[in-house]
Symmetry: C2
Subunit: 389 residues, 2 copies
């Protein structure tokens, strides 16, 4: 009997993709890498092809595909673009799709995978932020597993193991607070791109690192939790915990709270998602409590970290407001990374996108694609009016 799961990793050259391959390499009898995909890091993708020998790979641009085809010399199928992503996410020789693309781009291939009956390990939180209702309906309809890879949602999933949904009082997402937790708001205009990319705990991609610095990442996680665990915003709280040891908690209605803890290593939640409900032994670094020394907690400052407040606001507005939030945030982060707007302008741009916005309810996939595109255009225009760089 072949117990190997066939895996497609959408975004295998990013931080989560690379850690996923590390986990897979540890369990060669459990997993077979069927497909890998990269945005533009063809060199790393080529190394991954040599090591894991997938049946096929996807790159986003034709020019990269041409280069790669020559390199692999016919041994590996090379597909291109979003069409290629959707193709490999739905093929019959795939059991589980790891969705670790960045931003809105994750939505369509993830949805296609679910509709094709694939289990999904979800690292792309934007998928649920922009299309939570559509995704969760598809998960139920096609009876697949949607397993979170984010350390916070993995923590909550672990705390909920064996528990009843109606016993939950609230979810408590922990946040490191990012590199500007103790910086006065008056100093925020001085923040450089290099400052913002210097996260205190986790090494991650640029988009998520900036989102962590603005606390928008936590806001996106709140929205993701709302869909994954089917609880309203009023039952989802955020607490600042700079040591990032407790990855998140669940408070039950009998007054008991459960937490999941660990040394900050993404391989632990990735393995949990790939192996669920198994917990095979792995030698990831254990918590040494005599070294931990202390854990501290505080409430997030919503006046200072306006992006988190905006995420709660969008969730409260409902419908496609979170699609707008995400599109405006993606534009804002791109423009900040490109040096076109200041750190303080990120929430300004999102606030402008949400102002006077009337959300659509029961939106279709096409509605979401359209609203995303419209918001990006509006946000580009608004950014051009900002005087700050």
């Amino acid at each position: 009997m072949n117990l190997q799961k066939n895996i497609a990793i959408l975004g295998s050259t990013g931080s989560i993709g690379r850690s996923t391959l590390d986990v897979i390499a540890r369990f060669p009898d459990r997993f077979r890498v069927s497909y890998l995909t990269a945005h533009r890091n063809v060199d790393l993708l080529r190394e991954q092809i040599e090591r894991f020998k997938p049946r096929g790979v996807v790159v986003l641009e034709n020019c990269h595909a041409s280069v790669l085809k020559k390199l692999v010399n016919g041994a590996t199928e090379v597909l291109v673009g979003e069409e290629g992503l959707c193709e490999v996410a739905t093929r019959s020789d795939v059991d589980l799709v790891v969705s670790s693309l960045v931003g809105f781009a994750g939505l369509r291939p993830t949805l296609r995978a679910i509709e094709a009956g694939k289990d999904v390990a979800l690292a792309n939180k934007e998928t649920l932020v922009v299309g939570g209702e559509i995704i969760m309906n598809a998960v139920r309809k096609h009876d697949v597993r949607l397993l979170p890879v984010d350390s916070e949602h993995s923590a909550i999933l672990q705390c909920l193991r064996g528990e009843e949904h109606h016993h939950v009082e609230r979810l408590i997402l922990t946040a490191s607070g990012g590199p500007f937790r103790t910086l006065a708001k008056e100093q925020f205009h001085t923040i450089t791109v290099a400052d913002a990319l210097n996260h205190p705990t986790w090494r991650m991609g640029n988009k998520i690192t900036i989102d962590s610095a603005t606390l928008m990442n936590k806001g996106l996680e709140v929205i993701e939790a709302r869909w994954l665990f089917d609880l309203p915003a009023s039952q989802i709280h955020v607490v600042i915990h700079p040591q990032s040891i407790i990855h998140s908690m669940v408070e039950f209605r009998d007054g008991s709270t459960k937490a999941q803890l660990g040394f900050p290593d993404m391989k632990i939640p990735i393995q949990y998602a790939l192996m669920y409900p198994e917990r095979p032994h792995a030698p990831y670094r254990r918590l040494d409590f005599s070294a931990v020394q202390q854990m501290t907690f505080s409430e997030p400052d919503l006046e200072k970290f306006e992006c988190l407040a905006l995420a709660f606001k969008a969730l409260e507005m409902g419908g496609t407001a979170t699609t707008v939030l995400n599109a405006a945030n993606e534009v804002a982060v791109e423009k900040f990374l490109a040096g076109e707007i200041s750190f303080s302008s990120i929430p300004r741009l999102i606030e402008a996108a949400l102002a006077h916005y009337a959300p659509h309810h029961n939106a279709t996939f096409d509605d979401i694609v359209r609203i995303d595109a419209e918001t990006r255009q509006r946000s580009q225009q608004f950014a051009a009016t900002l005087q700050d760089k």
Copy 2:
């Protein structure tokens, strides 16, 4: 359909007994108090009779029974002594027995309850310390639930909910460290009874409060955990956590750790044991993380707290060594509370009892009773030779 559970509380006037009645009073449609028992606090027992109207009560001495019989005037059956305890623990109108007697006295009635097919909520940790193997064999044979009331074991039970036994790497019991955590060992001879009764976190009975000051309580909990969760001593660790917010943890073999947290209120684990697997809403004080501020951890100092080291030693010796440990400790605590020996002599007395002791394996109930009595006699004699008071 009558969904009420009929409860017998062995030791209803103690700290756990009173908290148990508080929990029961909150859910009158779920519980019926059938029997209550007291050592000598007849006044409080009489109040409890008036409030909860049990069918019967037990007191340990005939003189107290006579007083009580006049007071209750035939409305409530009054039984006497250990025989009375065993009688009410096994009656057909009892579904669940709360075992909250103090010390070795808990063993026989708890075993009888299990043999009579009753579920047991266990607060009397000495029962498992002295007769763990016999008790667990009886639990399996009679297919009853043995649910821990101790906050540490309740925490572990909650963390294990939905998990597989073979996924566990180790249990991590937290300990407040007691009132002498930061006191130099050289000062231990100056410790008075009043000092030792002043526990920093929990309000409890005298025996357990002294055990908390010597860390023997944690040692007894390690032994209890060994039986409740069927894991060897090598997989049970103790960590000092003075804030008593994390009540205990489970580390899994995939590197993930789960913890149960809460405001220190015994009603939370008591309710969990009484209601398991339900978690009905209760308004016990929630953790306020902005008020928690910090949690700290350190390794226990086994040179300073010799009782904890002795407990691990007895567990390693196996068989009836833990029966001896417990008997010697009970004598030592009594003598310390009576002002007859110093705080520093508590481990001396236990050490003497374990020295050159050859444990019995597969001991019967009668063996345990005999070894307990012999050890008490030896410990009394040894105490008389101590020159320290």
